[in-house]
Symmetry: C2
Subunit: 635 residues, 2 copies
């Protein structure tokens, strides 16, 4: 860190803070946070300027960004660093700079499906979070001849309070949070405005001074392979008061589940590394949501966690190795109740943390939560919910029960691992029209830098319609007759011999290189959609549900909610149903987690549901090969 020794060191530099353009001269080498403080520009540094959070992030909009520190890379990720993001507490100003304070992180522009229908609108939902707050005005023990203790007096006051009959809580020998007990003696004697007792299940969780009954919150985490979403929910109303999403920091160790497992398997320390990284992220999200909603973390009384099996295991620090090997068995399937301090969440130690149950190795708690949120178990006629992600999960529910399977689609449908693929972030082409001429939409209305999943789907669908790509997936270097010239001249052969289709020319693009879709890319998309479609087809076969009997197809998950349904049908990702039978349902896993959070009835239903879902391991079915080969076709 510091200026290169070969260049003369300037004595003072000027830092300009956008958007208000405050300018301040500081000694060269001052951190941007110090400069901001001098300039009277408010930059939040939640971790105390130790590089341990990302609240003080800035983006360098003019001038040479200071070299990235390890903290920058850890907190912001390599992509953001590349994008000139830095932590103000770490970055030193050695040259004149202009910085933008607290720019939204890239994932803020990334189309993560978080804004779901509010959980409280879920049909039939009863708000019963299992948390009870009772306001009491107890007295401390005051008569030496009457044996008592602080806890006994509190219990007495609770019993006296209307509706506060103390059954269970505090009655068992393990039913008082030590933390609450530690606060009790002083609170009992100093809280003139009475106390609020918080009980969760049969545990006396907390004692708070004054009447705090109005405030009760819970956290739902949806831990995806790529994305982690935290919902801070008001337990009384069911409303999400803050939602924060971020990229799963484990992605640095592998983009899909199998590579994540492979990394874990390499060395026992790797499990710990994945585990710790994830927890740091979740703890930062706790901080972020609490700040956003301006509530104290002590008002969080319940946590529900969902995720696929590998994420579930890594959240708990369980080695996922065997989830990746046949027969793909998880360490545990049924729901778990743990406490915040056991699992490493920075919340009051005894806060209950529930993990929803898993169905199987690749049909995780996220699938359970999706089935819960979409009420698949209550379907009088067959309904199918599909979470299209790196690992596709699908559940078909009908009068005969529920079946589920998973399909390892890989990340192609999310734009990853393709020549010009990118996540659905600023600069990504997310909509394409092929005929009569190529037209596209770019996220952020900037020159295009690549293609994201929904754009790729549109493009492939359009190229199929135009005859540039045939049903077998072949992009012929010489398109057949009938293909308009405007498209024909976009077909090229790359230096490495791969046929490709030019979506945006080098002139148009942000990178100076053409944005193309190659033959290899098309094969990736084909394999991905084949996997998903084969899963859907298998569930239809097993339940004898032809397309015309499928009452509804629900598209869930981040990607599922951005794809164009017509394009998805055209390439055969999903069956061709009447358009009104296909619906986006948002982040159903996150919604299910929130339902279990605000309703113990729903949480218990999730437990029963997971046991009722029959998992179909596709690879073990003799007919699967045939179905898969069929599903690979673009028709």
């Amino acid at each position: 860190m510091g200026a290169p020794q070969t260049s003369p060191r300037p004595q003072a530099v000027t830092v300009t803070f956008a958007p208000a353009q405050q300018r301040i001269a500081v000694p060269a080498g001052a951190t941007l946070l110090q400069a901001a403080q001098r300039a009277g520009v408010e930059i939040v540094a939640t971790c105390g300027a130790r590089g341990r959070c990302r609240s003080c992030r800035v983006q360098i909009t003019a001038g040479t960004p200071p070299p990235a520190t390890l903290a920058d890379r850890v907190q912001l990720g390599d992509d953001a660093v590349q994008d000139r993001y830095r932590l103000a507490c770490q970055a030193e100003a050695w040259t004149d700079l202009t910085v933008l304070v607290a720019p939204p992180l890239e994932e803020a522009g990334f189309q993560i499906m978080t804004a779901t229908a509010a959980v409280r609108t879920a049909p039939g939902l009863v708000l019963d979070a299992g948390v009870v707050k009772t306001y009491v005005v107890p007295s401390p023990p005051d008569d030496e001849t009457r044996p008592s203790s602080d806890l006994e007096e509190l219990a007495r006051a609770l019993a006296d309070a209307a509706g506060g009959a103390l059954t269970g809580a505090g009655a068992r020998d393990d039913a008082v949070a030590l933390d609450a007990l530690r606060r009790l003696p002083v609170l009992l004697r100093t809280a003139r405005d009475g106390l609020t007792v918080v009980r969760a299940g049969d545990v006396l969780l907390a004692v708070e001074p004054g009447d705090t009954r109005a405030e009760a919150f819970g956290l739902a985490f949806d831990i995806g392979t790529t994305t982690v979403v935290a919902y801070l929910v008001d337990l009384w109303s069911g409303a999400a008061v803050a939602t924060v999403s971020g990229l799963n920091p484990q992605a640095a160790f592998g983009g899909d589940l199998m590579s994540r497992i492979a990394f874990a398997q390499e060395h026992p320390a790797h499990v710990r590394r994945l585990h710790v990284r994830l927890l740091q992220h979740l703890n930062a999200q706790i901080e972020d949501t609490c700040r956003e909603a301006a509530i104290a973390r002590e008002r969080i009384y319940k946590v529900v966690v969902v995720g696929n099996t590998v994420m579930h295991h890594l959240f708990l620090g369980l080695d996922p190795t065997y989830v990746g090997q046949a027969p793909y068995a998880p360490a545990v399937r049924r729901g778990l109740r743990l406490r915040a301090h056991e699992v490493g969440l920075r919340l009051p130690p005894a806060t209950p943390v529930f993990l929803l149950p898993l169905v199987a190795g690749f049909v995780g708690a996220d699938a359970t939560a999706m089935a819960l949120a979409t009420r698949l178990d209550a379907a009088p006629s067959p309904r199918l919910a599909v979470d299209i992600g790196t690992n596709g999960e699908m559940v078909l529910g009908g009068p005969d029960g529920l079946v589920a399977c998973s399909a390892p689609a890989g990340p192609a449908l999310e734009g990853a691992q393709l020549r010009c693929g990118m996540r659905a972030a600023r600069g990504a082409i997310d909509r394409v029209r092929v005929t009569p001429e190529i037209a596209y939409h770019v996220i952020g209305d900037v020159p295009p830098a690549g293609l994201c999943g929904s754009g790729i789907l549109d493009l492939v669908a359009g190229l199929l319609d135009a005859g540039v790509v045939d049903a077998s997936g072949r992009l012929h270097p010489e398109p057949p007759p009938g293909v308009p010239d405007a498209l024909r001249r976009r077909v090229t052969v790359l230096p490495d011999g791969l046929p490709a289709f030019v979506v945006a020319t080098a002139d148009e693009s942000a990178t100076g290189e053409a944005v193309v879709l190659t033959q290899a890319d098309i094969r990736q998309v084909q394999l991905a959609k084949g996997a998903i479609r084969a899963g859907i087809a298998m569930l239809q076969r097993l339940t004898e549900t032809p397309d015309d009997r499928l009452a509804e197809l629900l598209l869930a998950g981040g990607f599922g909610n951005y794809l164009n349904i017509d394009s998805a049908m055209r390439i055969g990702l999903i069956p061709r149903l009447a358009r009104e039978r296909v619906h986006y349902v948002g982040n159903a896993a996150g919604l299910g987690a929130q339902m279990a959070l605000v309703s113990e009835t729903e949480r218990r239903r999730a437990e029963a549901l997971a046991q009722r879902i029959r998992h179909v391991p596709l690879a073990t079915r003799p007919e699967f090969q045939e179905v898969f080969l069929e599903a690979l076709q673009f028709r």
Copy 2:
């Protein structure tokens, strides 16, 4: 740390290791541990030479001891540092030194009552620790078409094992230790010799490779104001396989309960300091007992803790302030079940830690444990157990129930706060005969350095018999006629005007100063014995139990087991009963803790017992003043 800059720094120094007299030259400034390693002298440094344990302690027997470090003071205590003890990993040799390796710490010479009757000999004791170990040979899930998980396969194997029917354990959503779950996937697939499943209550606590059924241990802690004793007990046999005792490190912040409370009250950080100090000590004792018995701490499946109310609270990090203020109410009285990681004990996180219930502010879990161990609740005729300590606790049990009280004796009976008083350690006069001439016994058969409690009792009793001290407690500077000359000439008046009795002359003593008992000392003893005796008398009054109806008087606690019963009766510490009705019962609190450890039946009995013991707050009884004044008399 380092040599004073004003003296020339020697290039090499010689360290001699006693008792084998190995000599080694080392560079000045080398630690004694480094010197030992060079000399081939084995010094155990359990904590990795980080000053975090006391296993590497040495005593400097010749040469100038290096300055004490903070680690020395924390680990060894100021007394030991004063006594030239040092941690070899911290102490640097700057001059020639002779050191004794691993000398017993002072408390090893201190007569702490640890060697009690083995718990297994307690009448009617059933060994049922609540821990079940089952050997199974499970298979990992092996059929993808049969949904399962590692935990389910383990449960199946348990159900198959003879006597291993899995009811409860692993069945509830909070009934599996996360730690065990983390080990399960690998163990299930690699342990060729099967697994041993450990269940405690209804919790699946651990999974161990191989057949480890033979090994099951528990820890009982008896936390006294002055002394902390740890018993490592074989849960199957009830035998204590290692017992370690040490001085309560909180003593640095106050010798008796009230001064400990006063310190806690001064500042919120002080509670934490007392708490942390105690836990460090207990964790060191876990280490020490495990090393002594050569077992792994992972084989400890249960912990039981007893102590007076203040120690109980400080163990849990509860502020004891209000225990010290009328009406002296504890934060909680009933027994608690917590987990090792919650309370800060360095054991596998989910290990259950039980605190036996309290009766009242000054009749703590130690009294409950004493009542349990002495079977006071089963007495057909009245029996009285007295724990004579800094805080005396007494329980009288008979056909009409149980009553208890406490008496703040102060530390005088333990030799503290008297002119020449000392703990019962090496150099202490522990037995005295007064007539016809003074004769005494010194612990360690060395020249006397002071008087400990049992010696003081003998001395006062003898001086009463000889007429040197009268029944009012007065030591007359001119003893009355009839006192033999040999005693008369030992009566002196100290420079400060206090009459005193010379037990050992300056010539005889180890310190070069006479060992004396002053008039003020006698008053201290008088107040202490008066408090105890008044408590006993009050219980007798309340239960209408005159001396002749008292079937048995049981002396418990460290001090109670070393005093001379005749002397105790002579000074009126205890009532004059037929000698065969007075018995030593050892460390009854520690014994009770061990009983609750090896037997859930006993632990549950302790719970019921505490509720049945009626606490009598002496100060609230109108007749107490009269009884106390009576009890003060030496007759």
